[in-house]
Symmetry: C2
Subunit: 220 residues, 2 copies
């Protein structure tokens, strides 16, 4: 990582002669934010650069200018998606530093549910690539997921040390946990049509977090 010189650092700025303008960074951000939503809703092939540009309120040619092509825009979107996740959890973990191990485990589980409710794109993004093992999925695992899985395992180790974790292999617990926590928010519109309940309300998030916690942890 080069120390200074503009954030994101996605375009190769080793040959740059001028600092990127604030205006450019703003549109870049705008495009990436919109792209995250579009890709997670429509998938890579389904999301069109024109639609993304229109939603973002920018000219379509700017996508080529800032990201070279659709593939690179997709990668930039994934980078942001996981950067958000990392930042959010890094802040939390610091705040919970002085809590004891057992409560920290509970806080992590509950906060993951809360995060999933605020970022339903996360799971949907994975679903778009997760079945067919194309090159994008490989890139996603190698560049982002593989770094997070060990962190999850560390949490499981703590929970086991406190005798509070349900029995099962790490892999199964991981996907059961992610699925149980996120699916209701990834399918929020369906949920509301089907049951009348909007899962995005504070009350509903809290209820779901409580349920997921109870599912993962054994009764004391």
């Amino acid at each position: 990582m080069t120390p200074a010189r503009g954030p994101a650092s996605k375009p190769d700025d080793s040959q740059r002669k001028r600092r990127p303008q604030a205006r450019a960074l703003a549109t870049r951000d705008q495009i990436v934010s919109t792209a995250i939503v579009c890709f997670s809703n429509l998938g890579f092939e389904g999301a069109t650069t024109r639609w993304i540009a229109e939603q973002a309120g920018v000219n379509q040619g700017l996508i080529t200018h800032h990201f070279k092509n659709k593939e690179e825009l997709w990668k930039a979107a994934v980078d942001r998606l996981f950067a958000n996740f990392r930042n959010d959890f890094a802040a939390r973990m610091e705040a919970w530093q002085d809590a004891d191990r057992a409560t920290r485990v509970r806080l992590i589980i509950r906060h993951f549910v809360r995060y999933a409710s605020e970022h339903p794109e996360q799971l949907r993004f994975m679903m778009q690539e997760g079945l067919n093992s194309g090159p994008r999925m490989q890139w996603l695992v190698e560049n982002h997921l593989s770094a997070h899985y060990p962190q999850f395992q560390a949490m499981l180790r703590d929970a086991r040390a406190e005798n509070m974790l349900i029995e099962g292999d790490d892999v199964h617990i991981f996907y059961a946990f992610v699925g149980a926590a996120s699916t209701i928010f990834a399918l929020s519109a369906e949920c509301e049509h089907l049951t009348g309940l909007d899962p995005a309300t504070e009350k509903s998030i809290e209820a779901h977090a409580k349920l997921v916690e109870a599912m993962l942890l054994v009764t004391p």
Copy 2:
């Protein structure tokens, strides 16, 4: 439902002068089967009729001929998806008729996990439509999901009567259950790349079923 005259009955055959040929039904089936996979992998906009036709080994024009347009093909695919689900569970429920209530609950939970492992398209199909509340999602809920949800609730009622169910509202338990059971199979390729475990193996399915059962049911 008209009693006789050809299965599926999707095209308006009220004016038909001849019974549909076996050949036609075969290609129809072939197209629908392929469409289920394509739609669940790529979404409605991402899946192209040409790609579906090529995968199915039929001429692209046949899709228009048999289904009028892409939208109708999508509906036919959903119809088959849920027909498979209904048939499978109807057969199981009959086989478990003489089992006592508690074991029947356990069998249903475990079998749902098994079904999700054999049909990872199911959840993926929902995910493709479940966030944005478009007309397709509405159609899906009204024509299929709304009929299944009460059946799930009946199972929950049985489980509660036996004091074996985790505490929580029906809606939350529903989505936590579906997500916990299906996600690992919907993301099977990701799972294998990330952890080295292929979730589709018999051993893995059994382990996951056991875990999901333990997550939903309280220890006796």
